[in-house]
């Protein structure tokens, strides 16, 4: 208070008395500051308050849009999200009052930098800390951050996550051998049920009793009406081996029978025999199939034989990874080839000769900037429409983006070229070609190589994801595996991407370091 006279001298004078500023800011936050000639502060506070109130109104409206009055809406919103709405409302109220107080003090003591030492300065800054805190709370809600869910649902995420992190169980596979025997079943029972199958010595054999019956049906309430119970007896299978029971319908569809949610399996005894009761399964048949049909019940023993071999997923991932790296390489090479002439057109020092060349310069620059600001993924979407799914679409997308990016980088390298050495080499009596070889090329080669490697790096990185939109490469495989919930195979693809990108990163930085 004692230093107020000094500060008033040194700062801009308020247009209105301090109490008036406070009262005005109480009605329209920030206006008081504006009128006491703290223009920036006033505008900032006004904009912040308006934004906060609008956002808060939007959230309340989302929570309680059915309530008739504003008051009812607010109370309902607080009831539904007590912590969040309460917090923001309290913050807003405090902020509102604080702004009024700030307007009063600002008008009275003047200026954004009061001379009251650290304490008062803290109070003037504190208002912005409160604003940021309020925005943070709003942002938390708007972006649906839910840490509780993140922790609570970790157990659900763990199985797929662990498969992605360590997918190598799916990287190898073994050949399988199938031992099976089946029995024909007539549906429904009729006059001539099929005879037991012909028995051959040394071959697995299974009989069913009876050999006819009804399939499980579903009533109007989707409740199962169980079908006929079949007693299966098998012999001469592999001893002590798990045996799966499958059903084959007349049109050749096979499926493993489930009962009470579990696949039906049985262990064979020491002599390779088994006995099990199986209820005939539910099977929806096409309406065209009327009358009696012959189905088949089959017992299968599937056992691995031979050594380990790479799985299909692993082989596919390797193939696609190679494809990916070459996609990146081809796109980079095409990008370099096309961007060199473009970069000459986009170099100011080369094009500043006449108005026509300057116009070409501006047009080229503008096109490059537009093309560059469209992400490769979006170019890929366009390219897929253009040339169809596959790696070529990815190459087209990456090439287009590379031309724009490299064109700009190269043209800047050309613009930064040092005229001095050119002059010096010309002065020795060198020809034009010699001047280019001895004065221009040595200056260009470092940025040229460095930018090209950098772009190769980006292109391989991008080509791993460009498959997500159909652009070929390993991303194409990855997105398919994820959609099939085949997390192990997806994990293999992720590993390949990670290793390839890391390796490339290392190699390219090594090359650049050696070179520069």
């Amino acid at each position: 208070m004692t230093d107020s006279s000094i500060s008033r001298e040194s700062e801009k004078q308020s247009w209105i008395p301090a109490p008036a500023a406070g009262v005005i800011s109480l009605f329209i936050p920030g206006l008081g500051q504006l009128l006491s000639r703290q223009i920036q502060r006033g505008l900032l506070l006004l904009a912040s308050t308006v934004t906060i109130v609008l956002l808060l109104g939007w959230r309340i409206n989302l929570l309680a849009h059915r309530e008739p009055t504003i008051w009812a809406m607010i109370t309902k919103a607080i009831r539904r999200r007590p912590f969040f709405i309460g917090l923001v409302v309290v913050c807003t109220v405090i902020l509102w009052l604080w702004i009024a107080l700030d307007a009063y003090r600002g008008a009275r003591f003047g200026g954004p930098r009061p001379r009251g030492g650290l304490k008062r300065r803290g109070a003037r800054v504190g208002i912005f800390v409160l604003i940021i805190f309020t925005f943070f709370s709003l942002g938390w809600q708007i972006s649906e951050i839910d840490l509780v869910k993140m922790i609570a649902e970790l157990p659900d995420a763990w199985p797929p996550l662990s498969r992605v992190l360590w997918p190598w169980a799916a990287a190898v596979t073994r050949d399988t051998q199938e031992v099976s025997a089946g029995a024909k079943i007539l549906v429904p029972c009729g006059e001539n049920p099929p005879p037991p199958p012909f028995e051959e010595p040394d071959k697995p054999y299974m009989v069913s009793t009876p050999t006819c019956g009804d399939l499980t049906q579903r009533d109007a309430n989707s409740r199962d009406i169980l079908g006929t119970m079949l007693n299966l007896r098998g012999m001469r299978f592999k001893p002590n081996t798990e045996t799966e029971i499958w059903w084959e319908d007349p049109i050749g569809n096979e499926f493993q029978i489930r009962q009470k949610g579990e696949y039906v399996t049985v262990m064979t005894d020491d002599r390779g025999s088994f006995e099990i009761d199986v209820v005939m399964p539910y099977r929806l048949m096409p309406p065209s199939m009327r009358g009696r049909q012959i189905h088949q019940i089959v017992a299968k023993q599937i056992s691995p034989v031979g050594g380990l071999k790479p799985s299909e997923a692993l082989l596919l991932c390797i193939g696609r990874m190679v494809e990916t790296i070459f996609m990146g390489m081809m796109a980079t090479i095409f990008g370099i080839i096309f961007s060199i002439p473009v970069s000459f057109l986009a170099a100011r020092n080369l094009m500043s000769g006449s108005p026509i060349t300057m116009a070409i310069y501006y047009v080229t620059r503008t096109i490059l900037n537009i093309v560059r600001s469209i992400e490769p993924l979006i170019w890929a979407l366009i390219a897929v429409v253009w040339v169809g799914l596959g790696p070529f679409a990815g190459i087209v997308a990456l090439t287009v983006h590379s031309i724009a990016a490299l064109g700009k980088l190269y043209s800047e390298a050309i613009e930064n070229i040092d005229r001095g050495p050119i002059e010096a080499i010309q002065a020795t009596g060198a020809t034009r070609l010699q001047t280019i070889m001895y004065a221009v090329v040595p200056q260009m080669i470092v940025p040229f190589v460095s930018f090209s490697i950098y772009r190769w790096d980006i292109n391989v990185r991008m080509s791993t994801v460009i498959g997500l939109v159909g652009g070929g490469g390993i991303g194409f495989l990855l997105v398919q595996y994820i959609r099939l919930l085949d997390y192990r195979s997806a994990g293999i693809a992720v590993w390949f991407i990670a290793v390839a990108v890391a390796l490339l990163d290392y190699v390219s930085s090594e090359i650049r370091q050696r070179f520069i």
Binding site: D418, G420, P421, E423, A424, I425, Q426, A427, T428, G429, A430, T431, L433, Q434, M437, Y438, A439, P442, Q443, I445, V446
Partner: protein, 262 residues
């Protein structure tokens, strides 16, 4: 040897850099041109080997008009005129050796130089030139790894490779400290005196001009405002210098003696 008649240069933007400049350069002299930045010194030097094409006037070199030459003939003249620059104008990323060798470009077969091949005679010559300037041990370093003084010596070596009759030096010591300035000008003086290479040099500092010049011309706003002999320049005071120069005369302030020439 070199006769400049009524030389005028007007740049595209209308700037008049040289206005009707006439003078002669005698064989074996150390001619210094003084003048403020922007007085046209650099333009004058560059007109002589036509790095800049003059607008009007003639430049006679051994009875040939340089301003009228075609590119091919011009290259033949250029290789007889070495040039060194304020900022050395070395190709920074090339080796010292390559920079020096490039001084030979006007003499050798253009096709073989595209593959960076030079005759063994030229390669020996490059090492000799580096030896002479005391930087033979730096030959395989990159040019930008050298200090300023060493880089200017590379610049001189490159000019020497041309076996020049004349060396144009555009403020050769303006970006060096005073001791190095004497060292570099000492080399030029030695070439001038021992081998009779004519030196045409622009300089800034009065004491350097007094120490090295055998004749001086003063340039202001593109016009010659002063011509003086060695004796006249030696007797010149700071005030007179200021009159020609148009502003306060600057002295380097480090000993003018040959001891600095190491």
């Amino acid at each position: 040897m070199l006769e400049i008649k009524n030389l005028t240069k007007v740049y595209d933007d209308g700037t008049v850099a040289l206005r009707n400049v006439s003078f002669e350069v005698e064989p074996g002299e150390f001619l210094v041109v003084i003048g403020l930045s922007g007085s046209g010194k650099s333009t004058l030097l560059r007109c002589i080997n036509r790095l800049i094409d003059p607008t009007e006037g003639t430049i006679i070199w051994d009875d040939e008009d340089i301003t009228a030459l075609e590119q091919d003939q011009l290259r033949h003249i250029r290789r007889k005129i070495g040039m060194i620059f304020q900022h050395f104008n070395l190709v920074k990323r090339s080796s010292v050796y390559t920079n020096v060798l490039s001084g030979r470009l006007g003499y050798v077969n253009p096709l073989s130089t595209l593959l960076h091949h030079f005759p063994s005679r030229d390669r020996k010559m490059a090492m000799d030139a580096l030896e002479r300037l005391g930087i033979a041990d730096q030959a395989h370093k990159r040019a930008d790894e050298l200090s300023g003084g060493q880089q200017q010596r590379v610049g001189i070596a490159r000019a020497l490779m041309q076996q020049p009759k004349m060396i144009l030096a555009d403020e050769p010591v303006a970006s060096l400290d005073p001791v190095l300035a004497h060292s570099i000008l000492g080399y030029l003086e030695k070439l001038n005196q021992d081998e009779g290479i004519t030196v045409f040099c622009s300089l800034h500092y009065l004491d350097l001009v007094q120490r090295y010049a055998t004749r001086v011309i003063g340039l202001r706003d593109g016009q010659i405002v002063y011509k003086g002999s060695q004796e006249e320049i030696r007797r010149m005071t700071d005030e007179e210098f200021k009159d020609i120069y148009g502003e306060e005369a600057v002295r380097v302030g480090v000993g003018k003696s040959e001891e600095a020439d190491t």
